[in-house]
């Protein structure tokens, strides 16, 4: 149920040459949101007037100008932790309920420069902390493929918006799987780029050393086109490598001779459900049929990945979220009269449970006397995990793995057991720890009809290889 029955590149071209109009397509997205979002709650705000005005302005450009814009007229949804000038950016938190950024994130500027139309902001786990979009302060999002199921998270709103066909594309952010896992659960494609590929300027930080913004779409080719548009070199982010991605049509073919697919034995053992294993095995056979080879690889330290991840991300989060203290940013409690109370009360009222839990864990692991045992050790294990991947990639081009151990679980199923929730991130967090790119593409469905994705990971800066494998997988799964 894709928004276009063609790629974004083709739709963009048709709008540029006048056989389709931007206002019609933007209008169609807005009507779809109006009609369908009440049942899904993928959006936190819809940019009705702004989007239509923008689409009209695009339609009025000279044809020669239109043709220069790679995302001309494409309606796009943005996760609500990416700053959009004059449009509320809440991060799914009561804390930032009234925050209207005075500036655009670099990626938003880049999308505008490429001719895209921002149609709305999508729901997410509060401050991107969660795997189900259930921790949003503004209500849960439903999985378009099964309304009683979670859409995954934290970019659950963006994945649901694309998978339901309300928009052709969206941006999400991925700190430990937050793009790949909801895309797997909702049935669309989503990429977490190499750390440093896409500027984080304007992304409200959760864990700065892990966060990356990435594209979500229904076709792998769209992912490449979007990545090219958003991976602009940016001096405002010191961790941006200034290595824009260049897309290449040669990536998109099912002819994959000698593509070496690594299969880490740690990822296909205990804990993986048959429901997920079956479509992955079938896909692998088909890929082999197209010339791919498989290689057994080992990532000995990934067993520590979840523990390592939850120490590093909470440590960084505890510091990143300190600014929401009721003084300058964020909800301010009216109950407090003294400074200390103002901090405590504002944070008590403004943050949800999951955010508080992570701030407390993060504060603990950075505390004097515990730093060495937790944060420092985690930082070292992180290096070991990165080395595991480097080693593995000496034997293969891409690593194939599940995205999540099971299809989307039911809403409310894991909210009372945070540890169970954290363990669902087992296949995705390593790419963030190692800084390598990872993509999720639909590989099949469960007997219940819930989508199941497959993940590919590649070396740093090798998004091209990744998109090549992912495109073949997409074509062979259909």
């Amino acid at each position: 149920m894709a928004f276009f029955n063609m790629t974004i590149a083709e739709a963009s071209q048709q709008m540029a040459n006048g056989s389709m109009r931007c206002v019609d397509e933007t209008g169609r997205a807005l009507s779809l949101i109006d009609a369908a979002d009440a049942g899904l709650h993928a959006f936190l705000s819809v940019n009705n007037n702004g989007a239509l005005r923008r689409a009209e302005a695009l339609d009025n450009l000279p044809v020669s100008e239109k043709k220069k814009l790679p995302l001309f007229g494409i309606p796009i949804a943005i996760k609500d932790n990416i700053c959009t000038k004059d449009i509320p950016t809440t991060c799914g938190s009561k804390m930032l309920e009234n925050f209207v950024p005075p500036y655009d994130a670099t990626v938003v500027e880049a999308l505008q420069n490429a001719g895209a139309v921002i149609v709305g902001k999508t729901n997410m786990d509060e401050f991107a902390m969660g795997s189900s979009t259930e921790s949003s302060a503004f209500g849960k999002t439903h999985n378009p493929a099964g309304k009683n199921h979670i859409p995954g998270g934290s970019s659950g709103g963006s994945a649901a918006a694309v998978a339901s066909g309300m928009v052709p594309a969206a941006l999400g952010s991925d700190t430990g799987g937050s793009i790949r896992q909801p895309c797997s659960h909702c049935g669309c494609a989503g990429l977490k780029p190499t750390y440093g590929r896409v500027s984080r300027y304007g992304l409200v930080a959760f864990a700065s050393s892990l966060d990356q913004i990435g594209p979500i779409a229904s076709d792998v080719r769209d992912i490449g086109r979007l990545l090219e548009a958003i991976s602009v070199a940016d001096e405002r982010d010191s961790t941006n490598a200034r290595k824009p991605y260049r897309d290449d049509p040669s990536y998109y073919s099912t002819d994959i001779p000698n593509l070496k697919i690594g299969l880490p034995r740690e990822y296909f053992g205990e804990g993986l459900s048959e429901t997920v294993r079956r479509p992955l095995a079938a896909l692998l056979d088909r890929m082999k049929g197209c010339g791919a080879e498989t290689v057994d690889v080992s990532l000995p330290n990934v067993n520590y990945a979840v523990a390592t991840y939850y120490i590093i991300c909470t440590a960084e989060a505890s510091s990143n979220l300190a600014r929401y203290d009721g003084v300058k940013y964020g909800h301010r409690s009216t109950a407090a009269s003294m400074l200390g109370d103002l901090y405590t009360q504002s944070r008590e009222e403004g943050f949800g449970n999951e955010v508080k839990r992570r701030i407390m864990i993060g504060t603990y692991v950075l505390s004097s006397g515990y730093y060495d045992a937790y944060y420092l050790k985690a930082a070292r294990v992180r290096t070991l995990i990165a080395r595991d991947f480097e080693q593995a990639f000496t034997a293969c081009d891409v690593i194939m793995s599940p995205v999540a151990p099971t299809p989307a679980f039911r809403i409310g199923e894991k909210t009372s057991d945070p540890l169970q929730m954290y363990l669902t991130d087992i296949y995705t967090v390593s790419a963030n720890l190692a800084g390598i790119p990872g993509i999720s593409v639909p590989a099949g469905r469960s007997p219940e009809g819930l989508p199941i994705g497959v993940q590919f990971m590649a070396r740093q800066w090798h998004e091209g290889t990744l998109l090549k494998a992912a495109f073949a997988a997409q074509q062979l799964s259909q």
């Binding site: 500036y103 961790t239 505890s318 510091s319 505390s367």
Partner: protein, 474 residues
């Protein structure tokens, strides 16, 4: 038992960069509140820091000047704490991998030279400013938020307030000479905290230290350290134990007031700032910066004594502030007579600077105007006495001395005919004195010169008059 005090200082110096440490906002002092802010220094959600290279260069130049090792790789860390003047809830600083480490400066106390070690110099951002006005509300000013500071941490090498004062004076001179800080303690561009402890004289083990904050003048620092030394020795003498505490100096009561005890000490939860990459410095860059280092006060003092033949005292006074030394050298170059220029700068120019509370940059009596004026004194066009008046008028009116001399009629009369007539009438009017002079009372020449000066309205050239009077009186 005799006790000795051990003092270490932590100095924060605000760098004179054009922009803040992590954003493009400018950093002028004293502007309207909240006129220098942006998403980055306001700590807005999503904003990211980008390091100011000019600040790095200034920190490296300071480090090189005091003999520090410059780290090829240093790390920025977050110091986490809540305070309303800190928008992000953390300060970006350097912790276990500072930019500069292990230097020293030499100071002279009571005629003896002593080296004070410098543990480290690191870069960090300043917090904003809270203004507590009459109302219950506190006001916040973002202008200072994110301005670059270097923190200079000394070794516990000082053994008394006088040494601390000398160290701070030496450091201030260096920072001013480098042009990295204007060192105005009242405006807060130079701040100082002290760690102070006592121990039996000659002991090796350090006593428990007390930190003292808020000493915002040189006088405060000396007084606070004296007070705290006395207090600690009293405690120890009477059998008490010093506990690790932080005090705040209260200049009004002249006492240090307890701020917090060890149990309340902050846990800043330092960790590497993931928004910034490690700061890498190439050796070639360090060498380029080393080449820009100016001559330091001690070397310049030496050169002034040897090269210009100044007294040790004059060299000391003239080099204590770089702008004064620069002024002296500029004027000397134009005028040629170093000793005369030195006297005029020390007496007249510094008098104007002090009386009018100016910086050297605020002088209208520029080196070239002073040099011009002194040439006219030398060639007898104007008397030294009149020249002093001219100096003040040049400063008040910002005009060339030549114009003022002409307008006010300050030029001396050197015309021998006019002077001879004047001398003659003075001699005629004072026959008794003329008789005594001729009888051998030669010191009376001064009387005749004085009377003639008076008669010429102070404009007569005293040298000429003296010569004429001697000749005429025979």
């Amino acid at each position: 038992m005799e006790y000795e005090v051990v003092i270490g200082l932590e100095v924060h110096a605000q760098l004179l960069t054009k922009t803040k440490l992590f954003c493009g906002c400018t950093t002028p002092f004293g502007d309207e509140p909240n006129t220098h802010g942006c998403p980055v220094c306001l700590g807005m959600p999503g904003a990211l820091p980008v390091l100011n290279r000019e600040a790095v260069a200034m920190a490296i130049r300071t480090g090189l000047t005091v003999g520090c090792t410059i780290a090829k790789k240093s790390i920025f860390a977050r110091k986490n704490y809540f305070y309303p003047d800190l928008p992000k809830g953390y300060q970006i600083s350097q912790y276990d991998m500072p930019l500069c480490s292990g230097g020293s400066i030499s100071v002279i106390v009571n005629g003896t030279e002593k080296r004070i070690g410098i543990t480290r110099i690191h870069l960090e951002e300043d917090a904003g400013k809270l203004v507590h006005d009459q109302d219950a509300d506190s006001l916040f000013d973002v202008n200072r938020c994110g301005t670059p500071l270097i923190e200079i941490v000394s070794e516990p090498d000082m053994r008394g307030p006088a040494e601390a004062h000398a160290y701070l004076t030496g450091l201030k001179q260096i920072l001013e000479y480098l042009g990295v800080c204007d060192c105005n303690m009242e405006e807060g561009s130079l701040r100082c905290d002290a760690n102070i402890s006592v121990r039996p004289k000659g002991g090796k083990k350090l006593g428990t230290k007390i930190e003292i904050k808020n000493m915002n003048s040189f006088r405060s620092i000396e007084k606070a350290l004296e007070y705290e030394t006395g207090r600690q020795i009293d405690v120890v003498r009477s059998g008490g134990i010093i506990e690790q505490q932080t005090y705040q100096w209260d200049p009004d009561t002249g006492q240090s007031v307890l701020m917090r005890s060890k149990e309340d000490a902050h846990d800043y939860r330092y960790f590497p700032d993931p928004d910034l990459v490690p700061l890498l410095v190439e050796q070639s860059h360090i060498e380029t910066l080393r080449a820009t280092l100016p001559e330091l006060p001690a070397a310049r003092r030496h050169r002034f004594e040897k090269g210009y033949g100044l007294t040790a005292y004059a060299a000391e006074v003239l080099t204590s502030m770089r702008p004064v030394a620069d002024y002296f050298e500029a004027a000397t170059k134009l005028c040629g007579d170093a000793k005369t220029v030195a006297n005029w700068v020390m007496v007249e120019i510094l008098r104007i600077v002090n009386e009018r509370k100016l910086g050297v940059a605020g002088l209208h009596i520029t080196p070239s105007r002073l040099a011009g004026l002194l040439k006219q004194v030398a060639d007898g066009t104007i008397s030294a006495q009149a020249a002093k008046k001219v100096v003040d008028l040049v400063q008040s009116e910002n005009r060339d001395p030549e114009a003022i001399i002409k307008e006010k009629g300050f030029a001396q009369i050197s015309d021998s005919g006019t002077l001879e007539a004047a001398v003659r009438s003075v001699i005629d009017a004072n026959p008794k004195e003329a008789e005594r002079y001729r009888a051998g009372e030669k010191k009376l020449i001064g009387f005749f010169v004085g009377q003639t000066m008076k008669a010429t309205g102070g404009k007569g050239n005293p040298k000429e008059i003296s010569a004429i009077a001697m000749r005429t009186l025979g």
